[in-house]
């Protein structure tokens, strides 16, 4: 009843949100790099950079959450493999290596060219990244493309594992009936893909506006379809979980029912289910089913709005899982309210800052390795 523990704070749910974006963005990039769907060429490289930027930031909310961040490496020095969390070091490093290698190979022609053309110190990072090899002969590039395909192919299961594993972290806690379900990793995975595609649609349209580029309609059309498909999957799974719990009427339902109708009424029913699921479902349905009658501008607006709402949906889903799970007492004999603090170490401001960092990093990465322009025609 009166367990004395702290909440896991807002910054903590940033971790599953950010890794979700990593996995989703990577899967979009794979549409181009593995399946060679040409319509995604305009964003293939950008999606990779997005994935990398968010991956590099994924550990930040965790470090912020740890009581002893200076001991974080213990998780790799003495990993205890009966713990789902200990797998993090292995999965994260593996995925990071795959992703960095893929980014490096995809951008290698640009790296070599910039290393040769930029003056003085400006070329230094590129010379370092080129590893002293300026071989851009067609046979070499063909080999690179083969390796890229292999890496991207390994990357898909790796991304799924990395994020499915985040779902497992919650799903495997038998002490918490709101978390403990084998559906959890799958729900996390599908909603990760939703958030990744949605993020790319938003970023792509934003960057195109800023650069004055034309938005590729075939690309957007394809993304909208995938987004709609994955959204339907996600919502179905999320509803299935609740419906099963409600129908079985186990002991847990006694506490989960008041949880979702009172404590989480706004964030679960209003935000996650209506604003974030129903409305984008209708918008995307219009965009997909009426596709051939749509003016480009209408399609842009429909997908942009739906994507923004879906980003909110996935965010609120993470919120409801992570925060909601901690509102119940362990003896299932009562609920607590949660009032996020704004300025605390793990408060709202920290969460906003943590979410802003990957965007800043993405901006920096895009400056270093320009993903748009002539490059995508050559690669």
């Amino acid at each position: 009843m009166i367990e004395a523990f702290r909440y896991t704070f807002p910054t903590d749910m940033m971790y599953p949100y950010i890794t979700g974006l990593v996995a989703g963005a990577f899967i979009v990039s794979s549409l181009y790099h593995v399946f060679h769907k040409e319509e995604y060429a305009p964003i293939g490289r950008f999606a990779l950079l997005t994935s990398l930027a968010f991956l590099l930031c994924a550990t930040m909310p965790l470090l912020n959450h740890l009581g002893h961040p200076e001991r974080a490496m213990n998780i790799m020095i003495t990993p205890h493999f009966t713990s789902a969390m200990a797998g993090f070091g292995v999965l994260y490093s593996f995925y990071l290596v795959v992703l960095v290698l893929e980014v490096w190979l995809v951008f290698r022609p640009d790296i070599v060219r910039l290393a040769q053309t930029l003056p003085g110190w400006k070329s230094l990072p590129y010379r370092l990244l080129a590893l002293g090899v300026d071989d851009l002969r067609p046979e070499t590039l063909a080999l690179d493309r083969k390796v890229i395909t292999i890496l991207a192919t390994i990357g898909i299961p790796a991304a799924c594992l990395l994020h499915g594993y985040v779902g497992f972290l919650f799903g495997a806690i038998k002490a918490n009936p709101w978390w403990s379900t084998p559906l959890m990793p799958i729900i996390f995975l599908f909603s990760a893909v939703v958030s990744g595609i949605a993020l790319l649609i938003v970023l792509y349209q934003f960057v195109a506006k800023v650069r004055g580029d034309e938005i590729s309609q075939p690309c957007l059309r394809g993304l909208a379809r995938w987004l709609w498909y994955f959204q339907i999957q996600t919502i179905t799974l999320e509803l299935l979980e609740i419906i099963t719990l409600a129908y079985e009427r186990n002991e847990e339902w006694e506490i989960i029912a008041p949880l979702i109708t009172h404590q989480l009424a706004f964030s679960f029913i209003s935000v996650q289910m209506i604003l974030g699921s129903l409305i984008p479902f209708i918008l995307l349905m219009l965009a997909v089913l009426l596709d051939r009658y749509l003016h480009a501008k209408v399609r842009n607006t429909l997908t942009f709005t739906a994507s923004l709402l879906l980003l909110i949906q996935v965010f609120s889903m993470r919120w409801n899982v992570v925060i909601g799970g901690q509102m119940m007492s362990k003896s299932l004999r009562g609920l607590r309210d949660f009032h996020p603090e704004f300025l605390a170490k793990e408060g709202v401001l920290a969460a906003i800052l943590l979410f802003a960092i990957p965007f800043v990093l993405l901006y920096g990465l895009a400056k270093l390795l320009p993903p748009f322009g002539r490059a995508h025609q050559t690669s």
Binding site: M1, I2, E3, A4, F5, R6, T8, L62, H65, L66, G67, H68, P69, R71, A72, N74, I75, I77, T78, P79, H80, T82, S83, A84, M85, A86, F88, L169, I173, K174, A175, N176, G325, Q326, S329, K330, S331, L332, R333, G334
Partner: protein, 241 residues
């Protein structure tokens, strides 16, 4: 040189060489952990809710205010089966009369603490091996290895763990390991004026706890979680969770 370093490094890839080493006597004592196996019995019918145990625990273990390694809950049940559970300040200052708003059919106190489960979800999820089970059946946390991730706090079905706001590491009841290794009982057991809390060594044939654990009708908390608690309850009620 580099070769030797790499060899050492690879040899230590898996640090667990457990069972190859006997722990033996703890340095400077004549106490051998492998010679003991502890159990804890709580008699609900005896507990008077004075909270002396909670107070003694917090003093013995310097538990920060508003956090508890052991606490006492009061269950108040109506004839219709409505249940109110309260535990003001963990019971540390005792209990005052309450007016539940219904006719009380039964009421009782339930002391709680870490169950020192044999099948521990908390040590299972510790990512760094900071939390572990000793041969005596005690679950401990190494404050020098704990990274303060709080995963064990979430994994414990009994709410027995918390992150100490001062040390920022996971903390919980140790069954006063520092006392029992010196031949004393846990502070809560010694503070109980009515003998509602009992502690003993199942490997000691003369210890009264053996008879209770083997012969009495005992209950455990949340048996469906299959954590195999080593804290047993006498006088249990179906409302207790």
């Amino acid at each position: 040189m580099a070769g030797a370093a790499i060899t050492v490094a690879l040899l230590r890839i898996t640090p667990a060489q457990a069972a190859e080493h006997a722990i033996g006597m703890l340095p400077g004592t004549n106490y051998d952990p492998e010679e003991h196996l502890y159990a804890y019995v709580i008699d609900i019918t005896k507990c008077i809710g004075c909270g002396m145990c909670v107070q003694a625990c917090s003093r013995e273990n310097k538990v920060p205010d508003h956090f508890f390694r052991t606490w006492v809950e009061r269950y108040t049940v109506s004839e219709q089966g409505e249940v109110i559970v309260d535990s003001p300040n963990g019971g540390k200052d005792g209990f005052k009369p309450i007016t539940p708003g219904f006719k009380v059919a039964k009421s009782y106190f339930v002391p709680k603490l870490c169950n020192h489960c044999a099948n521990t979800p908390c040590t299972q999820v510790c990512p760094v091996g900071a939390s572990y089970n000793t041969p005596e059946g005690v679950v401990l946390v190494d404050p020098k290895r704990c990274i303060g991730c709080g995963y064990c706090v979430q994994a414990c079905p009994f709410g027995s763990r918390f992150i100490n706001p001062v040390t920022k590491t996971a903390e919980k009841c140790t069954w006063c390991y520092h006392r029992v290794t010196k031949g004393m009982k846990p502070a809560c057991v010694e503070a109980c004026p009515v003998g509602a809390r009992m502690f003993g060594d199942l490997k000691n044939e003369r210890d009264p706890i053996r008879k209770i654990v083997t012969e009495a009708h005992l209950a455990i908390l949340q048996p469906e979680k299959l954590t195999k608690p080593r804290c047993y309850y006498l006088g249990f009620d179906k409302e207790i969770r």
